[in-house]
Structure formats: structure tokens, C-alpha cells
Amino acid sequence: MSTPAAPPTAPPIIPAAPPALTGRTRSWSVRAVALLVLAVALVLAAVASVAFGARGVTWADIVAGVSGSQETLAEAAVAQRVPRTVLAAVVGAALGVSGALLQGISRNPLADPGIFGINNGAALFVVIGMSFFGMTSPYAYIWVALLGAAVTAVFVYLVGSLGRGGATPLKLALAGAATSIALSSLVSAVILPRVEVMDSFRFWQIGGVGGAAFDTIARVAPFLLVGFLLALISARGLDSLALGDEMARGLGVKVERTRIIAGVGAVLLCGGATAVAGPIAFIGLVVPHLCRMVYGPDHRWLLPLSAVTGAVLLTISDVVGRVIARPEELEVGIVTALVGAPFFIVVVRRMKVRAL
């Protein structure tokens, strides 16, 4: 094992001893205040998401639209923004938690569903479903996207963790990048002869929450709920995993079982999110890092807070995308990539060379 026991990254994670050993890493008051701030931020983001958009609306329109009236264009726009806001929040939460889980499982600060190519795996399966099995229902998409996400996640993790040193950030990132190139060529191979699929796919591929409706959200909700539950169950085990496999085993943690539970949770969350919103990269990378800076590495806090932070971040990104490109919209997947990639680079630059 050349991987150090603590996640190989910058100061916030170095004191990675589990709370059981060192006590609480942050005082309750700090956590409470931060939690309050987050809650307020979520409410504000939701209000902003309903109020701002490509079309300017008045306060009266907002009130009328939220209460269900769709008589004017402005009111209809508002009414349409409500499910969109909910979807953005749900997807953001799912991606945030799945990123935190992946980073915990692999002890890898660069883990993200997008970097790992999991999104592309889901995309390939969706495209195959569309082209060869004539799938049209969003419900079917969810299942194939989940399957694709799971297969890719397992594959990339296996390939990246073979050999000396286990799953180092570099190997996992390279395995992910290379796998996504391969997968996207396969996607092209499938869609190029099929113009109609190509047309609908290029919009799915970007990742957006624009076409949201409450029944899509309801369809994917069970998967996400199970994912969140699994995440919470595995929280303690992930804390011990941070110490390294052997130490965790010594503490009586069933390492493999924890990895599998957390892994299934992560795949359900990011597969479900990808199925409804298309591939959205970098939320899963950024959110856990932000949360760790404030809350420390305790997964029992980190996971729920990653959910809230993810929700806030994705909702805000969606609002930003709607506002900066008026009268058109910038899909949220693009906003997150443009913001998230520099963050990724900052994380890489802060890492010590040896840790890579």
C-alpha cells in the first residue's frame, strides 16, 4: 500500500481520524450556524430559481404561478419553473452525495461521476436502448441509465485499482478519462446512422433540468431515496475506511461490505440523476470538498450536508445559466463544467506530487 492512510489531499482532510478517536472535529455551534446558512441559501436559491429566468416576471406573476394559475405567459413560465427548481435541487443533492461516497470509497479527492466516465456509461446504455430496443419511455431510460452507470463505475474502479498502490487518483482519473473517450466513440458509432436519435441525444447529452415535470421526478425518486439511505448506512464505515483498509478492519469494520453498500448507493444516486437530467459533471467533485472545509471529514455530517450543498449549488447554477444567456438558456451541465473544472484544477494543484 503506497497510498497513505489519510486521503491524499490538502489540509482540510488531513485530520482524517474518525470522530470516534478524536472527538468532534468542529464544534456544534459552527456546524449549527453553517447548517442554518445552508438552509437559508437553499430557500433563497429556490426563490431565485422561480423568480429569475429567460423571461422577466413580476412579483404578482410569481405568486399566481406558484399557486397554480397559468393564465398569462409569465404565470405559465413561473409554473414551469417550480418543478424545474425541485428537480435541480434533487439532482444536485444526489450528485453531491454520490461524489462524497465515491471520494470516500476510493479515498480519492478527485472522484466524481463525470471524471469517472459514469455519465458516459449511462449515456451509452440510453442510446443503445433508444436505437436498438426502441425505448421511448423515460421510465425505461432510468433503468438502462442505472445499469450503464453501474457497469461503468465498477469497470473504471476495477481498472483503476489494479496493480501497485491501489486506486491512486491518477490511475482512476486516467482510467475514467480513457473509458469515457471509448464510450463516447461507441455512442457516436450507435447514433451516427440514426439521425432522429442523434437529434434527441445531443440535447440529452448536455445535461439540463429544463424539461422537468413532477412525474419524472416521482419516477426517479424511489431510486434516489434508496441511494440516500444506503449512503447514511455506510457513513460510519466510510469514516473508518479513511484510515486505510487494514486499520478499518482492525477497528472491526467490514471493509468490503461498506464499499459495496456505499458503491451501490453512489451508483443509484448518480445513475438516477443522470437518467433524469443527463450527464452533469463536477457537482459531485466540488460539493464534498466545500463541505469538508466547513464540517470536517465526519461522513455522518458530510453526506447530508453534501446533499444540501449540492442542491444549493445546482439550483444556483441553473439560475445563472438562465440569466446570463438571455434570451436563450445555458444548460446547467455547461455551467457546472465551466465552474467545476477550474475547481478540479485547484484541487490538483494543491495536492502533493507524492500523493498523486
Binding site: R164, G165, K171, A177, A182, I206, A337, R349, V353
Partner: protein, 363 residues
Amino acid sequence: MVARPGAPEAGTASTPPVASVIAQVSAGRRARRRRYLLVCAVLAVLILVTVAVSLLFGRQTFSPAEVIRVLLGEQVPGASFTVGVLRLPRALVGALAGAAFGMAGITFQTMLRNPLASPDIIGISSGASAAAVFCIVLLSMSETAVSIVATLAALVTAGVIYLLSFRDGLSGTRLILIGIGISAMLQSVVSYVLSRAAQWDLQTAMRWLNGNLNGSTMDQVLPLVVAVVVAGAVLALLAKSLDALRLGEETSAALGVRVERTRVLLILFSVTLLAFATAAAGPVAFVAFLAGPISVRLLGSAGSAGSPLLPAALVGALLILVADFAGQFAFGTRYPVGVITGVLGAPYLIYLLIRSTRTGGAQ
């Protein structure tokens, strides 16, 4: 080499005579040299055969005599257009672009000491793609202008990646990771622009996603030739220093290599190669990545007998030519070359990933 148990001298005499050791070593060297030349010659012949086949066969088949007359500049009814205007530029652009990809790929892989660190995987091609798609779809620029912008964009991308990964010296791993991050960002720009594309721009723009030789013209050949010859020559001159860089920064500095200057030159010229090839053929998936490892595998122990550039260039050219021909005619639909190389490359890539991580090569 001498102490190997299989070697006859080592088993019998405790100190083998110097002359026989020298003879043995130089015999080994000659054998490796022969194998090196043989591999290169076979690859070159295969390339010629593929070019010939792609000129002769297609929707319409021409006789060798007709093709030769077209190549000599005569006007042959029917054949002049199909062979001279459609097939010949296509084959030439494919071969040259493949050679350029191969050389750029092996330079990066050797320099960063990682077979997975080819410029297409670490995001330099995506700079060219993003710029090209942007120019085609949003600015409606002409082909030539697009090529120039794409070349500049690839250079800028490489520069940005290099600068960002520079912190207390350059670390290959950091460079690769930052490249992956940049490439993710640029890919999202590409998909955004594509989502804004009108249907008729989509075809042209898709070429920049996968790599495609459709619509290659003779105008594209000359810049490629210049790039391949000039940059190839510079890279060949730097081959010794590149070899030393492989031993690590400190060792090569001790060997008298100016590490920083060499590295900047290597990056500059291999990115130029890559950019010209990308401008002509699009970012053909995996060619830069595959050419190096395949040529190394073909050469075996003979890899040390000559510059790795030439075999990598030949393998790159062969890959593109074969993939393009297969893409055009092997399936019901005409697939662009990049899709074929992407799909063919995937299993090999997986193999390589598993192998290189097992031996710890990708650390």
C-alpha cells in the same frame, strides 16, 4: 546480458574473454537494428498497399493502369475525378495526419513516462475541437480560417495546461490530471455549441467531435507535409534528450540535458503536429494514443535500435488508413474514421490500462 544463465559463456567460464563479449553485444545490436529496419519496412509496405487499395477500390473500381495514369497527371474520364479529387487527397491526408498523431503521441508518452498520457487523452485535441466547432457553428468561418484557429487553440490549450501544472517544477502526473480537467471543460463547450448548431452545420461540426476524412482536399496536404517534415525533423533531433528525459528530471539534468528547454521544445513541436493533423482530420480518437504502444510492442527489444518516432508515425498512418477504409465500406453506413478508431481502440485501451496499472507503469 552476459550474466544471463542462458548465455553459453556465462555457464562455463567465470570471466568470459572480452572479445567474445564485444562480439556478442555487437551481434545483438546488429540483430536489433535489423529487426528495427524490418519492422519499419513492413509497415511502410503495408501503408503503400493500403493506399493503393483505397485508390483502386470503392463504390467504383478502377484498374491499376487507370490509377497510375491519373497519378501521372493524365486526364482519364471518370477516374480523374474519383481518384484524383476524392480518393487521393483522402489517402494522403489520412496517412500524413496519422503520422503526425503518431509522432505527437509517442513524444508525449515518452516525455511523461506514461503510455496513457497521450495528447488526445490529456485534452490538447479538445482545445482544437472546441475552437473549431465554435468557429464553424457560431462564426461561420471558412475551412482555412478554422484550421488556423484550431491550431492556435491547441497551442494555447497546451500552454495553459503546462503553466497550470507548473508548481515547484513540473510533475507529469499533475500535467495529466490538469489536462483531464481542462478537457472536461472544453468538451462541455463543444456540446454546448453543438446544441446550438443548425441541422446543416451539424454534419461539419460532428467531424470535429470524432475525426473524419470526408471532404479532404489537396489544399490540406501541403501544410500537413510541411508540419510533418519540419516538426518531425526537430523531434528526431531531440530524440537523444527525450531518451534521457525518460530517466527522470534529475538524472537527465546530470546527463547534460537542459530539461526545461528540451521539454518546452518537445511540447511545442508535438502540439504543432497534433494541431495541424487535427485541423485537417479532426481529433481522430485514440490514434495518438495507440500508435506509440503498438509500435513499441512490434519492435520488442529492438525499440532501442532507432528513434521511436518513425515506427510510431508509420503505425499511426496505417491505423488511420485502414480504419478509414473500413469505415467507408465495411458496414452498411459510412462511419467517420474517428468512430472506427475509437471503437477498435477501446479494447486495446482496456488491455493497456490493465497491463500498465498492473506493472505500476501508470503511477
